[in-house]
Assembly symmetry: C2
Homo-oligomer: 383 residues x 2
């Protein structure tokens, strides 16, 4: 397996893109990459997307997007892993290049959600849950996470306010990200007063959706060795858990996140303390908390302590959501995993201004599908 690197990145602002089709949206970050690099063709295109089949009446996104970006003839494929579809597309791309079968691959994550009425989108998001035992019983993704959060608070004795630091940090960082959808800071008081969505989850615990697309260009490492803009991929790993929450022995432990992170650490030959920043999957503050614990950044039941100790700001011990995270950047589901990786690359390049993590050399991303059912962990290193 040959070593691989990200040569270039692209992204659209997360927003309500009424003026762009799904295709135009997906093409934008890829065309940015082509412009920046002068490269006009790649061997493979992997598209991460969750719900275009129902929300946009469009499947077959591999061919669709390959044609639009002008690499007609290239391999083109759509991969789906619910909210981790983006990282799944990146992993598929890097495995293809690492295998030697192809020499360059674009991974593009795209989701256009705001065309559809909100109740419809809620139903479509719930196709990531168990159709027979969860979705068709009326469970939504917010309510699944609310069940987990309530149990967590009860089990470990945390008050709801303990989670506020995560949202405050994400919004403080997002202010500086021109691609973020919610560019305003909030206070702990704002968090406390925020409208409840599904008790105990309020609007400040939950990432807002949006339309967006992000892309990365992956090539063999030896082609870009020593090139400052190119970032080395140290590890990529994936793991699954049950799709239905009630099937888990321990609903407060993300075993797939743990497995995925452990494999990634082993492959990268690092430990959690080596990670300079972590683009965490903060779709909900509770999932963020569980991810931190599963990845070894906090003891079991102690995730919220990281926020209280101010360890998660860009100059802290373990900076999180440095560009706003899902919470403030917005969460166009199938694109999110690619945005996280794009942001990790920006940090390793030192391009992040006010939210730059000082001397960032190792960045980690974790993208989570469902309520921890499908988890991708990637680790990157500055060359």
């Amino acid at each position: 397996m040959r070593e691989v690197a990200i040569l270039e990145i692209g992204q659209t602002p997360v927003s309500e893109h009424w003026d762009k089709s799904l295709l135009e949206l997906a093409g934008e970050p890829v065309l940015q990459i082509f412009q920046k690099t002068g490269i006009q063709s790649v061997d493979s295109v992997f598209v991460g997307n969750m719900m275009a089949g129902s929300a946009n009446h469009q499947l077959h996104l591999g061919s669709y997007i390959a044609d639009w970006i002008g690499v007609q003839g290239a391999e083109g494929i759509h991969v789906e892993a619910a909210c981790s579809s983006g990282a799944a597309a990146v992993r598929a791309s890097l495995i293809a290049v690492a295998s030697g079968d192809v020499d360059s691959a674009i991974a593009v994550g795209v989701e256009k959600m705001t065309d559809s009425p909100s109740p419809e989108i809620t139903g479509e998001l719930a196709t990531a849950a168990d159709a027979d035992f969860e979705r068709d019983m009326g469970v939504s993704f917010v309510s699944i996470n609310a069940l987990i959060m309530r149990r967590y608070m009860e089990e470990y004795g945390w008050a709801k306010e303990a989670f506020s630091g995560f949202s405050v940090n994400a919004h403080a960082n997002g202010v500086h990200n021109p691609n973020a959808r919610f560019r305003y800071s909030i206070t702990a008081e704002d968090y406390r007063k925020a409208s409840m969505v599904c008790d105990p989850i309020n609007v400040m615990d939950a990432a807002g959706m949006g339309d967006g697309a992000a892309a990365v260009l992956i090539v063999p490492l030896d082609r870009v060795k020593g090139m400052a803009r190119a970032v080395r991929i140290l590890a990529s790993s994936a793991a699954t858990d049950t799709i239905a929450l009630h099937m888990r022995k321990d609903p407060l432990w993300l075993s797939a996140a743990e497995k995925s992170a452990r494999k990634a650490y082993e492959h990268a030959k690092i430990s959690p303390s080596d990670v300079d920043l972590f683009e965490v999957h903060d779709a909900f503050t509770i999932i963020e908390t569980l991810s931190l614990e599963a990845c070894g950044f906090a003891e079991r039941g102690q995730g919220p302590r990281l926020a209280a100790e101010n360890a998660i700001v860009p100059t802290g011990r373990i900076p999180l959501a440095t560009m706003g995270g899902l919470k403030a950047r917005g969460h166009p589901v199938g694109a999110t995993g690619v945005y996280q990786i794009v942001e990790a690359v920006q940090q390793l390049r030192g391009e992040c201004g006010a939210v730059q993590v000082p001397d960032a050399r190792i960045a980690m991303t974790q993208n989570i599908g469902g309520s921890g059912s499908n988890v991708y962990t990637h680790i990157f290193q500055k060359q």
Copy 2:
């Protein structure tokens, strides 16, 4: 890139599986493989499926199926490329194993179509076409193929009856396949009298849909070297074309099929004359014809001649659809590409009785998404 092989196969009959859920259907061929090999765990599971998100309200099939088959914790991902989703899953699996990142992978193709009312399925199938310029204008997949067939007949001067041999052969072969949905033979006269679906396509030109699942287990070749049941994968390739028919310079030439086949021949170091049998994508007789021409089995405009010359029967020069093809086996779209590969393996193992291709050593499969928009070619060799 290390060499890879198919160690074992599994398949369900194609039928209306009212008594099985999507999950049970997908699990069946995998559990057959586990039973036959004694293997109980794999590193990765790749699921080929087109429309479960809308037809079955279930996405996130990687996690869903990994859990059900008892390999919870393994990587699990859903890949989609319209009607070529099955072969796309096989290719993703073999690239993962070839890369060295994983040591075993299951590719399972599944589609459960008959739960949904037929007009709904017609609309869902059309999400493989261009949403803005084809699907939303009312075009269905049969009508797209009817346009191509009409033009082909006009351009090259073929009467409709010239296509009958393909269907007659598929049904003659399908009689002997216990997993085929339409196990009866037909005559050229039956073809001539068949009800029109969308002129000039009649029911005997078009593959019927169905519910079904098929799976293969892929491992490194060196693990199964010399093992008679294991089949060597000589080549895997993918290519795309425009998704919308009107965007093609030449609607009578499947450029993606040509590219994909050419790459596969180069990789396998063979030419079309070395192929002992070809599991062709006979979703429509016209697509079959164009595939034969693109792959070099017939001159341009001369595809129907192969049927007239009786070259396509199991003892012929280029046996096609040896187990019934899409036409007689049935076409559960996301599973079809895996069925084709399963059938190629059966032929190379010499398990096909009355439809056994004598001394079969090299088998080729081609799985086509959309109207030739996404094409996968695989070549296999008996060890």
